[in-house]
Symmetry: C2
Subunit: 196 residues, 2 copies
DNA sequence: AGATAAAACTAATAAGTGTTAGTTTTACTA
DNA sequence: TAGTAAAACTAACACTTATTAGTTTTATCT
């Protein structure tokens, strides 16, 4: 009955993907059914297949979009010249930005990538591995320049990535806290430490 | 044919729960079927029901065991007298310990609690909320004692919890890195910062 | 208005789900 | 060795799943 309404700058497929991202975040990929997704859009499940290929394809689209966004941004940062701390800060702030403006997709990419099918699963993991390696390289450079303490760079990267990932819990406190404050507090904690 | 072998200090039910934790971690709760679980044990799916109540019950057991372990430990730390930094270090090290020795269950509790049914879901979330509140209180005390920088304590706790949660990625590098080194590097990063 | 293409619908399929009932095997005790 | 309880088995149930085929409605353009 009701038609699928395309978003302003996208196709109807994009509209479905967006709704799927929200649903997958709320219930998880496997626990979300096509009937439920169709329901949220206001249409029968089979109608979705006029616009998309399969349920798996939805997850693939979501995960790859996110992975690409991060890869592109990191490439930009890499080409810059400047202090390591500035680069790290830029990266941290980009993660925060993605968390605030592409929450559903990022959440799904972070939590549901395991449900990707081959070869998409391997591809996704490789891309993430490459992202981490580049980050480690940046931290290593910082250590060599004596700009950063001599800590295992893998641990530093792990700590940074995990911490920014935890930003997803902010959605709970979103109303009570100012975004800019959180941003600078976390940057300060991660880069300067918390002990006087 | 094959019988379910009880682990040394546990019932057969415990053995099933342990196998379930591993399976749920690998594939996710919803994507794991009782037939697959039974297969891993070497038994028919229906035979499991001689020992357990339901699939949901397995998830409940896993999540509640983990939640209790953390609650108990935090209560112990709270009763101590000493510097805030020492308490935080103890807590961080306990998270690391749990990650290393109860990896499967902790992973499942962290990733699959959404699949809990009411009222277990609400109970679990309340327990976690309470845990975080106590942590915030500890950090607040540290700030008042001027032992810790004046950063939003919620952000500090969020950063700490997220960072230690990221330890789950270690399983990948486990062989290449020494646990004690990782532990101290992360504690140093989180408490002292990484910038000279 | 008539034709065409897009996108909705209904109905059905084959496969997989957790779980139960009833039966048979296994292991231990008297 | 006979009897008993635990725990395995087979078979089936009722439901849900993603997806497809075929059909009808809707919107658009000539």
């Amino acid at each position: 009955m009701a038609k699928i309404i395309a978003s302003k700058n996208g196709t109807k497929k994009d509209a479905i993907i967006q709704k799927a991202a929200t649903l997958f975040r709320e219930k998880g990929f496997v626990a979300s059914s096509m009937r439920e997704l169709a329901d949220k859009i206001g249409v029968e499940a089979s109608s979705l297949y006029n616009h998309i290929g399969s349920k798996s394809e939805l997850l693939q689209s979501i995960c790859y979009k996110i992975a690409n966004d991060f890869t592109i941004h990191l490439n930009e940062v890499e080409t810059q010249k400047g202090r390591t701390a500035e680069k790290l800060e830029q990266i941290i702030r980009f993660h925060i930005h993605m968390m605030l403006h592409h929450y559903d997709e990022l959440f799904v990419a972070n939590h549901e990538w395991k449900q990707l099918q081959e070869p998409y699963l391997s591809n996704f993991l490789n891309q993430r591995k490459s992202y981490e390696s580049k980050l480690v390289a940046i931290v290593k450079t910082g250590i060599e320049c004596k700009e950063i303490k001599k800590i295992n760079p893998h641990v530093v990267v792990l700590t940074l990535l995990s911490a920014v990932r935890g930003l997803e819990f902010w959605q709970r406190h979103k109303k009570n806290m100012d975004t800019k404050d959180i941003e600078s507090d976390m940057v300060q904690h991660l880069l300067n430490g918390i002990i006087k």
